[in-house]
């Protein structure tokens, strides 16, 4: 039976620890020894290869664990807190010393991005519906009963927390600038927006240039703090001088990977999943969805330029990566049969077998079948031009009138209202436009 791979890796900026999420669970790993420090689930006794599992420093209460897949995770700058949000819209704040859950809160919608502000007093979340909330970290240790999840749509929108900004699109990521004066948000409709933080109603500018959904954004390291890197479903990584909304570089991943160019918004185009940044070396690790390669880029703040450093080959499709405090790169993959779920590389990208052995031997859990671990596919648009649909329909009708028995009638009329629930895969777009 397969071992569930880790969906997210987040390093603690103040401790030698990385936190890994798998399904609804979390595990914390010491990045110096590789030992698992804490786990929200008892460690499995698997074939141990002669290793002995070190006793866990902390095992949180079972009733504190998440009940759904952790979809996003963030660590506070001082390393004291981890925030997680799960598919059931529950956000939790964890104490990274005791691994107790300090607070639980029901979000209005599923979160796609979480970030702490500098002093860790606020947690910012960007959600599936495009709204961005600035929330006080110290939240009550109860699931707020005010809004049952399924009733949120009926709830009065003026009650409760108000968003500081919103996109009429799915928000895909957010980044606060180092001085916390600005918040940058990205969406499924190719937009990157720069707004004041926390007064998000003041929009400074937009960074426009991507030709497909933007998946991830990060402020680039360096003295200037004026550059942003973005990844998208259009096979590019772009660098922006974000306060000017100006694109300074387009980096083609297809070129870097030696792949031929492809038409815009092709279904299976190279999609950037996420970035990890090594601040000391100014390296950016680019995770590409469903690919067993991680593209390592080097950033020069003075030259305002990214360059290819290396293409790192992994043993399976990459799920998540992050650099720890020492500059080692922790990578998690969807492994082929019998292979490891985690590989660690030093800052020269040589593999460090010892650091990963504990987590590969005792980490995560065995499952009957693996769930779908890739989620950006839903971001790509599947529209068809109504003019093309109309033309195709007219051609079919003409062929039918001309006596072609193979030409099917252009469109079946609906017999009754209920039949609209039956999906009509051949023409979703016109139906949407004219009926909704």
């Amino acid at each position: 039976m397969p071992i569930l791979p880790f969906s997210h890796i987040v390093h603690n900026p103040a401790k030698d620890v990385v936190v890994l999420s798998f399904g609804e669970h979390l595990q914390a790993v010491d990045t110096k020894s590789g030992v698992i420090l804490a786990s929200t689930i008892a460690l499995e006794e698997r074939e141990s290869n002669g290793l002995t599992a070190e006793p866990l420093t902390n095992t949180p209460n079972v009733d504190q664990e998440n009940k759904a897949r952790v979809s996003v995770m963030a660590c506070s700058k001082d390393g004291a807190y981890i925030a997680t949000a799960a598919d059931d819209k529950i956000m939790k704040i964890w104490d990274t010393a005791s691994w107790n859950c300090l607070g639980t809160r029901t979000l209005v919608r599923r979160s796609n991005a979480l970030e702490f502000n500098n002093d860790g007093s606020m947690v910012v979340t960007a959600d599936k519906f495009g709204d961005v909330y600035n929330m006080i970290r110290d939240i009550p240790d109860v699931v707020q009963p005010v809004k049952a999840a399924e009733n949120t749509e009926e709830a009065d929108e003026d009650e409760g927390e108000q968003p500081i900004l919103g996109h009429v699109s799915m928000a895909t990521d957010l980044a606060l600038t180092k001085d916390n004066k600005y918040i940058i948000t990205s969406d499924r409709d190719e937009h990157i927006r720069v707004s004041q933080y926390p007064k998000g109603h003041n929009i400074e500018t937009y960074c426009l240039g991507h030709t497909s959904f933007v998946t991830t954004i990060r402020v680039l390291p360096g003295a200037s703090q004026k550059y942003l890197i973005s990844g998208a479903g259009d096979a590019t990584v772009r660098v922006w001088e974000f306060m000017k909304g100006q694109e300074v570089q387009t980096f083609s991943l297809r070129d870097a990977l030696g792949m031929p160019p492809q038409e815009t918004d092709a279904e299976d185009d190279v999609t950037v999943h996420s970035f990890a940044i090594n601040e000391q070396k100014s390296h950016i690790a680019v995770v590409i969805e469903k690919m067993n390669k991680v593209v390592i880029l080097g950033w020069s703040d003075a030259a305002a330029k990214i360059e290819l450093v290396k293409i790192l080959e992994l043993e399976g499709q990459t799920l998540s990566v992050d650099y720890d405090r020492s500059g080692n790169l922790w990578t998690s993959v969807l492994p082929e049969e019998g292979k490891d779920i985690v590989a660690v590389f030093d800052s020269e990208y040589n593999r460090l077998e010892d650091l990963a052995k504990y987590v590969n031997t005792f980490g995560s859990k065995t499952v009957e079948t693996l769930p779908d671990l890739f989620h950006t596919e839903e971001l790509r648009k599947h529209t068809t031009d109504w003019r093309e649909l109309k033309k195709a329909r007219e051609e079919r009708d003409a062929a039918r009138l001309a006596g072609d028995p193979d030409a099917a009638p252009s469109k079946k009329r609906r017999k009754n209202k209920n039949s609209r629930k039956i999906p009509e895969p051949e023409k979703p777009e016109t139906a949407m436009e004219e009926e909704n």
Binding site: F129, G130, D131, E153, E154, D156, E157, Q162, P163, L165, G166, H167, V168, S169, D189, E190, H191, R193, S195, K199, G200, H201, N202, I203, T205, Y206, L208, G209, H210, T211, K381, H382, T383, T384, D385, W386, K390, K411, R413, R414, E429, T430, A431, M432, E433, E434, E435, N436
Partner: protein, 271 residues
Amino acid sequence: MDPVAGEKRHAESPEETTTPESGEIRLPQKKYFRQRAHANVFSDHHLDYPVSPAHMDWSKNFPLHFAPKNGEVAEGAVAKDSGKRIEFADIGCGYGGLLVALSTVFPDTLMLGMEIRVKVEEYVNQKILALRQNHPGSYDNVSILRMNAMKFLPNFFEKHQLSKMFFLFPDPHFKKRKHKARIITSTLLSEYAYVLRPGGIIYTISDVKDLHLWMVKHLDAHPLFVRIPDEELVDDPAVEHVRTATEEGQKVERNKGDKYLACYRRITDED
């Protein structure tokens, strides 16, 4: 409405609109361009929009003010941009009554209507083209685009480009769970404030009191908008057209319904 029936009726229209009659082109007839009054603003419509305002080729919309981006000058088009930029945007312009009225009131101002419904956009487009032919020298400053303004305004307009935005008789979206689809929301107002210059004006009008109160509530609460008192509106030449020029406004008049107007000025955020 059954879309099939709607399209069949529509199919008869094009020839009629181009039939010349005593030298004048007959204006398109609205009855051939009816479309259900609602569109789902959250679904992925197939829309043509530029990557950014700098990428937009306006030459098809305003051939006397913008040269084609590809450098191929079409007949009746200019070879060089006039230097004018669009300043008025009519969001959800419907059958375009306001644009046509304002076109001659502000002959030197470029104005654009945005409408998400395909057939309605076709109608307004044909109407503007016919008006331009019948009245040479006029109506070159108005045009329409099929667009979802809730999503793509920053793709068309630069920061602070617009001086007026119109939201006339918008879809009321009565059901509570549909309120998020309304065109005036707290978060969308921030986007309107981005494309609107300080001092610019948002005009809203509705015959639905609940919607009017909703718009007022959200505009009042927004830090970047302040209501313009009614007495100041008397001198604004746009206001009477906001009340009377749209098809929707005329319908309300025929039915002797009420119209609720609320206009707001875009201010800057003082700390």
